[in-house]
Symmetry: C2
Subunit: 143 residues, 2 copies
DNA sequence: GTAATCTCTCTAGTGACTAGAGGATCAAGA
DNA sequence: TCTTGATCCTCTAGTCACTAGAGAGATTAC
């Protein structure tokens, strides 16, 4: 019934150091150890890790995941907070998509206008050098 | 004609430590110093910094920018490499947009199905806990 | 001359991991 | 029981592109 960190890593498809890292930052609880200090896990660890991974796949930050995990343990609590966190994330994703689309437009223009000739006439370089230009909030688009 | 790092920061709309950082990693060249070791810049520094910032806005990595900057100084060179770098970036952006759209779809479903009731019935929490699920290449979508 | 502002270097922190060193432990076969 | 090879342990440092802060020195305006 008790398996090693390597086995947990396989079952949840998460790398071993990541599991230790999650324990360190408190996303995964400290677990049983053998006499030789090796970690041993049970089925609930797999479920919790899968929850965390899925949340990370959706881009939730560790702090948000911490909250979501704690909510999970209170079935009778209102789910308003969980809903709020998810809506926030949706808003972020929408914004990110919009920023990336703007980026894409400019990149596409650059690439399409490039005549594949000399650097001196290259629209890619020219566009980058063009100073009459300023984005706001670009940092959220590039990451 | 020679101005300080603070003035350069204002003109190019880049923070002072960022300028020093760019010098450190070789994106900006070492520049004149006063007797007291303070940096002094001229107009070309503003142009170069603007080039870098614009490239960062478009999400080019520092290594790519290094290449683009070196190309800029060879007007008679073919622009194939610049074109290649830009096309690569466009591909990345396209992929990222696609990943984010998939994410968005799942988030939207979660949020819409949430009945705003008890955690025990919350689709947000349920969806996250659902283990019958695996994305490939999600890491490029969440960043 | 003096005060206010600016700048210097250096170190460390961000987020969410990932990689490696150097050594201990475990499970399985002989 | 012993050995071998795989796995595991902790700890430190690295990733990317910055950003923040300490403590000291330089410059500029008056």
């Amino acid at each position: 019934m008790a398996f090693s960190i390597g086995e947990l890593a396989r079952r949840a498809d998460v790398k071993i150091p990541t599991i230790r890292y999650y324990e360190q930052i408190g996303l995964m609880p400290e677990t049983l150890r053998t006499e030789g200090q090796q970690r041993r896990y049970g089925q609930p660890a797999v479920a919790r890790l899968a929850f965390i991974r899925h949340a990370r796949e959706l881009g939730f930050e560790v702090d948000a995941i911490r909250t979501l995990l704690s909510l999970q343990d209170k079935p009778d609590h209102s789910c308003a907070q969980a809903d709020h966190i998810a809506k926030e994330r949706l808003r972020e994703v929408d914004q990110r998509i919009a920023s990336l689309k703007a980026l894409r437009k400019e990149l596409k223009k650059m690439v399409e206008e490039c005549a594949q000739g000399r650097i001196g006439d290259c629209r890619v370089i020219e566009t980058l050098a063009d100073r009459s230009h300023s984005h706001k909030d670009w940092k959220e688009a590039v990451g």
